[in-house]
Amino acid sequence: MVPRKKKYETGEAAAFLTRKQAMAKLQLNLKDFRRLCILKGVFPREPKNRRRAQKGNASTVKTLYLEKDIRFLLHEPIVWKFRDFKVFLKKLKKAQEKKNWGQAKRLQSNKPKYSLDHIVRERYPTFVDAIRDLEDCLCLCFLYSTFPRTNKTPVEMVELCRRLTVEFMHYVIEARALRKVFCSIKGYYFQADVKGQTVTWIVPHNFGYRAPAQVDMRLMSVFTEFYTTMLGFVNFRLFNSMNLTYPPKLQGLQMTGTSQGKNKGEGEGEGSTRVQEEERVFALNQSLHRTVLPEETVEMDNIPITDDNASMEAARKEAEAVEAQTKLFKGLKFFLGREVPREPLVFMIRSMGGEVSWDATVAPGSTYQESDERITHHIADRNQIPDKKLGRFYVQPQWIFDSINRRSKLNEKHYAIGETLPPHLSPFIADRRVGDYVPPEEKNLAEQDNAEKQDNEADEGEDEEENEEESEEDEEEGGEESGEEVGGEESGEEEEEESGEEKENEAEEVKVGTKEKVDRKAEKQLQETEEYRLREMMVPRKHRGLYKSMMKNRKRRINESKNLERKREKWDKDNTPQPKKAKKAKL
């Protein structure tokens, strides 16, 4: 007879295991199980129906893992290394308790080790997969490189993280990959273009370390263990793709220290030069040694991939803008004051092609001193500087951030020492929709850009004002057809009114008939608005609801922004004229 079919034997109940069951199957304790899951990338899952998955017990929420994942973990060779480690601990403890110090020392020197290479390869089958996951990796490595050495964060880990992050920064500098910078209260946000993928990461401000109470440090150290291995391999491949030697060596110097193996035992003298080399590499100031010299930059062929001309044009313009951005600080020499954060600024300046240095007493690796005549910009953050040298700009660090984001060198006057700085806007904000509030500072910048463009083009046929209005609206509304027409409608209406008034004045007296001033532009605008209205009516009924809501939202946004503008004007008015009044009162 066929045995009766029992509940919770098939389906969702069989697909999930609780954590306890998983640990029993793998024969690991909780610490090792979590470590294994993190290394292999096995996550707990949420089932569709918790009652079924937990075999009828829905009163508590249990951590569930996919049964397939656990079966997959069974084949992992690292599991044996965990068990070996457990055995090793037992032996070590026994030797220590028996006061068998020789044995204990011998055991510790032969600690069981495991390698994570095959796990990295398995989780990222191709190089591009690794690049996609690079954000998390970089954030953690940069974070750990700023930690102090505690018992939860050992010295080796911190040093390894520091080395790897410096290598990655060297790659970004050499490849001119940095695109966006944002200085927030949390840290510096950098966005770079690595092998076609945008990678964003955060670098903390250089301040005291405070361990938050809720964070599980052991967990984070397991993540860092995995990510350091991954970052090392990624660095190797990135460096090789740029024809740089890995580990990085400085250009033009005869390397003695960092070659592996063939030292002839010259002892301390060599050790110190090697340390000096490392320090100079860590300073990020000098360019690296290349195995193959780069050729002249090849001009891009204009191969039409798609028929869409507009998008191709946009892509070409974008590529040109990026090209220009990489040469932003070319030929400029910077000097950093003592109070500015050195490493992020060095990184930013060098990735845009500039040269930078600092005072020799601050850190090793400075190439020229403050008294050097060729310095073009001096970056300082003080209230005032007593003796300024001629021929160089004294700017605050925000000039660099904003110039990189706007892809052009801004006017140093606004960022001079002692000036109130314009606000540091975020480059990550998505394209502004129609009617979104634009702070007046951005508007000013946009106007400046347009004014420059007009000077270059020098169109004499049309009014400059009209041109500016239209181009401004073009920029704000992203060239949308309806947007242009709305703007056009406004200017058309104004002209209509003017022509209307003129006509009234003329109609009072009977005069010799003058030729009616046919305002072709106004007529054109009228026609266009009529056509627009017709097209609006032609919108099919299905889409009418959506169209209506779109327009309504747009109107609402415009009103909101106008409201905000009014508020801003009011605030400006309240705040600025006070000093003048105060002066008058004194007199």
Partner: protein, 381 residues
């Protein structure tokens, strides 16, 4: 132990300065080993990998066959089984287990690894952006207050306060409203409701079943037959007429399809929304971290006077929880671990406790305190 004769010979040779080949080789090898140890000292210090000297994604295949150039000693690799090859390659980068191809490597979360920061979080933000962020942070607090107030409203506010609490007089007054004898207020507009008459239950008469006659049986069969025939004719006629109803049927079907499609879309949208939020993986809910913001008076436009806000470590930890890579866990209280107090054998065994027991019966407080003073340093462990 060395034979004394051999030892003598060795001493003589050493005095003469003759070094054997074995000793020479031993010296060289020892020096080489010390050098090797020095070179790999940094690697051996830590169990992590510090040297990255090969391309992981282009790694060379580890051959299971020992390399040899001699024609005679070239090994034919066909005898090496697949299992042996896998066993050798399992630690190298080339080996990719079969099951890993079918693995779901991502958590299905739509949250990016590093989220775009708010514009108001800049160290020198624009006014509007900063106000937006302040408003967001304020909203969180407002919502918390709202939740508290809701609970208050539904529980304590349902009961009267001390001032409004009913006193005995007011209670009597309220209860005697409408009753003229007790002195309460009688409302003249009130009407007495008519009482409805009770309905009597109908008794159902029990039916008495009489046996059917032959005629009645024939009639019922005939009637059933005629009914069936009529119905079949009607249904066929209805089917023929139904062809003209095709349009309405089509319309109905389209409506049903449209409804299902709409429902499916709503379900999809819901599932998408769910992917943008952290899942419930353990019994503890995910708690979002506080929004990092500098208040208006804390804002200085200066990079030098900037004090960073928020911990990046916590930020990364919470981000991992949000993306369902790690489940939410609460730090459990550590078990104290009671240590068993074992009293070592000595001549005084149990004297202190006995003394205390004695004082319970006989002596007063003073004697007890005296005893306690004596025994305190002894008992404290």
């Amino acid at each position: 132990r060395v034979n004394p004769v051999v030892k003598k010979k060795q001493d003589i040779l050493r005095e003469q300065g003759v070094v054997s080949k074995k000793e020479k080789e031993a010296k060289l090898q020892r020096a080489a080993q010390i050098q090797q140890k020095k070179n790999t000292a940094a690697e051996r210090k830590t169990r992590r990998r510090t040297k990255f000297d090969f391309d992981l994604w282009d790694a060379p295949e580890v051959s299971t066959v020992p390399a040899s150039t001699d024609e005679e000693t070239k090994v034919d690799p066909s005898w090496i089984s697949d299992e042996a090859k896998v066993h050798t390659n399992v630690w190298t980068a080339k080996h990719v287990p079969k099951e890993s191809k079918h693995r779901k490597l991502d958590t299905g979360s739509l949250i990016p690894a590093v989220e775009v920061p708010d514009a108001g979080a800049s160290y020198n933000p624009a006014l509007a952006d900063h106000q937006d962020l302040l408003w967001k942070a304020a909203l969180v607090e407002i919502n918390k207050e709202k939740a508290l107030k809701k609970i208050e409203r539904q529980t304590t506010d349902m009961f009267p306060t001390k001032e409004n609490a009913p006193t005995k007089e007011s209670y009597i007054k309220e209860m005697s409203e409408g009753i003229a004898e007790l002195g309460g207020v009688v409302d003249e507009d009130e009407e007495d409701e008519d009482e409805e008459g009770m309905e009597s239950d109908e008794e159902s008469e029990a039916k008495i079943n009489k046996p059917k006659t032959r005629k009645q049986r024939r009639d019922t069969v005939k009637r059933a037959h005629a009914d069936r025939k009529r119905k079949s004719i009607l249904s066929r006629q209805q089917m023929e007429r139904d062809i003209f109803k095709l349009k309405t049927y089509k319309k109905e079907l389209n409506e049903i399809e449209a409804k299902t499609l709409a429902r499916q879309k709503v379900k999809e949208a819901k599932a998408e929304e769910k992917r943008k939020n952290p899942l419930q993986l353990t019994k503890y809910k995910y708690e979002p971290q506080e929004i990092e913001i500098k208040l208006s008076d804390e804002l200085t436009g200066n990079l030098r006077s900037l004090k960073p806000e928020g911990s990046l470590l916590e930020d990364r930890y919470k981000s991992l929880q949000r993306r369902n890579i790690v489940e939410t866990r609460i730090k459990q209280k550590e078990a104290k671990g009671w240590k068993k107090k074992v009293e070592k054998r000595n001549y005084k065994m149990g004297w202190e406790t006995n003394q205390l027991r004695k004082t319970k019966k006989g002596g007063g407080k003073k004697k007890k305190m005296k005893m306690a003073k004596v025994t305190r340093p002894l008992l404290s462990r």
